[in-house]
Symmetry: C2
Subunit: 422 residues, 2 copies
Amino acid sequence: MSAVGLIVQKFGGSSLASIDLLKSAARRVVETKRRGHQVIVVVSARGHATDELHELARQVSASPPRRELDMLMATGEQQSVALMAIAIHALDEPAISFAAGQIGIYTDSQHTRARIINIDPRRILQELEQGRVVIVAGFQGVDEQFNITTLGRGGSDTTAVALAGVLGAELCEIYTDVGGVYTADPRVVSQARKLSRISYDEMLELASLGAAVMHSRSLEFAKKYRVPLCVRSSFDDGPGTFIVEETEEMEQVLVRGVALNIDEAKITLHQVPDRPGVAAFICEGLDRHGINMDMIVQNTGEDGLTDFSFTVAKSELKESLLAVEEAAQQVGAKRISGDANIAKVSVVGVGMRIHTGVAAKMFRALAEANVNIQMISTSEIKISCIVDVSDGERALRAVHQAFALEEGNGSNEESQSRGSPS
Amino acid sequence: MSAVGLIVQKFGGSSLASIDLLKSAARRVVETKRRGHQVIVVVSARGHATDELHELARQVSASPPRRELDMLMATGEQQSVALMAIAIHALDEPAISFAAGQIGIYTDSQHTRARIINIDPRRILQELEQGRVVIVAGFQGVDEQFNITTLGRGGSDTTAVALAGVLGAELCEIYTDVGGVYTADPRVVSQARKLSRISYDEMLELASLGAAVMHSRSLEFAKKYRVPLCVRSSFDDGPGTFIVEETEEMEQVLVRGVALNIDEAKITLHQVPDRPGVAAFICEGLDRHGINMDMIVQNTGEDGLTDFSFTVAKSELKESLLAVEEAAQQVGAKRISGDANIAKVSVVGVGMRIHTGVAAKMFRALAEANVNIQMISTSEIKISCIVDVSDGERALRAVHQAFALEEGNGSNEESQSRGSPS
């Protein structure tokens, strides 16, 4: 089932936005091939193609059926594979393009958010053995009835990682316009440093925090099937960031990176009677509306009353307030409040498991920056604080500095600035 | 294998160019469905989508592989089917879209000009029986290896006619912006009249003359499988033109229509020794370059010498001249000349089979209009004359008038002017 020296290269929409960028991606593929590798290329729709198709659908109907949306959207990637194949041919390297249905990327029938169930590797292996570069449309699949499905956000990454997993690839390279994973968003923290390595779990936490170089689903898949991953720049030859299994050495580092998310809103049910079933009632109310909660915080109450807070996507604040209203009455909350003016600042690192004092250091840094903490939530390798949105960027910089992330606080980091060629 | 009251409706690119036109086509489909018919809709790529995709490919490579061009081009029709399904859903009628591969429209592997080999009707019949409108991407198919192919010019008509044939449709409606078949091109002959009926053979001759409401291949298919065809307007409710099997009554009409083609060029080999094998040599020379000849004329010679003339597509004149050069030397021609400034005027009608005097009437009309005839060629139901391009439109009008086509020279015509609603 495994191919020799196989590398999967995934190019996102921004890496294919212009004909010049497309050709440059094709050159990279051809170089890899000529270094003796077998190469599978996974591509997304070019530039804003997906948005444009969505807009077209919206002009035709306010509520297009999801099966037909998938039919429409899938053409974006199909155009990309054809153009990529043409560009590689023009460099005198044999290449062949495939839509997902042609090579058997089978999914369930959940249109617009399907999950890959099975991949039939035979046709791909045949073509690789013939010496061809195989170009696969990302983001899409077919169900057992051969209806076209799409995989939802980050779907092309998922396609790339799944192919790399099934075919036992040596490496799965995700090409982006960012060029790697940073200790913080370089647009906010100018001292942010590119990481040379990060563990699957750390990357997963960062993805769930909205520092989305890759989508959680593809990372979960990569972790599960131990797919060697690398996030690299499509604009230069920098080494990028390897996403790898955790090593003991990694735990020597207190914090790998910090993240800021300003896309959430906070809802609080005030003075809720402190008794069993309260949280369940509230969550069920939101579930019925298909709303996902992120942070959920409830503190020990006083006088038999407590406050129950949670965050949701900012775009779903209104709907969420309506959704919890009934639940709030049932559980006897005095008042509901919603606040869209919040930011979430988080620190992530597997080192937290063995090092104490990370939380204290973070809270101290925020205090010294005069940032008030509204909510706190922690996981095994993450601490998140909700602060006022106006404090967000300042808070992020303060935390980044407190953990000396700009210096490379561990041995396995490189002090390379963003975008510079190596 | 046959569906109840099935109608196949084909909409071309111009009928889908804007969202409003697309919605209007969808309304037409829904009306047909609600009159109790099962409906299959076949659509082309929208507006200039195909040209834009060709231009994209050209920017990437001067010589894109044809398999990859097909992969790219097929997305145009796929977008159309999805948008059409969305538009029909918005009118509360269930509909489902299919790319050719999903319903098994199998072709040979001649990319960019594939021919349909087989159609598997099962999935379509299933969906029709569920009460859904079935929307099929025209112009495309898949070969036995599941590579996407396209059918070349007029391919969506071929898809529609083939589906109508295989499924035993009651009628195959071809919606166009012209609204029917006319006695002449109304842009040239203002008195041109829309025909209510025309025979497959007459329509085939008109198509081969460049009066291309439909492509020859789809007409040949329709004739072979006796598919009831109708060319109608996508902009009004006019009855359009029915293309039917020939009836005796049709032969009462001398001439059904006239056509002008200005896309050809003439090549003459002068003073060729009049001996066997000359024509073969010349044709083989052109064949090797993949050039199609249209009219071929050789007259009896004098002094053992003759002139050999033929027409080719104007765009292939240069290449044709190069291609015949060698042949011309081999057969001992004195001189080759090429002329792009020609027009072909033709009259078509099954009535010619039993009526004499059609040719004389045509030549007289041209003489009275002071038009010099350079070449003449005839078939059983057609007479074509090559004239100087500057005489072309005048010649067409003269012939149209001579046969009194504006008056309806037979019983089965209607005197309806172009585009007016019935």
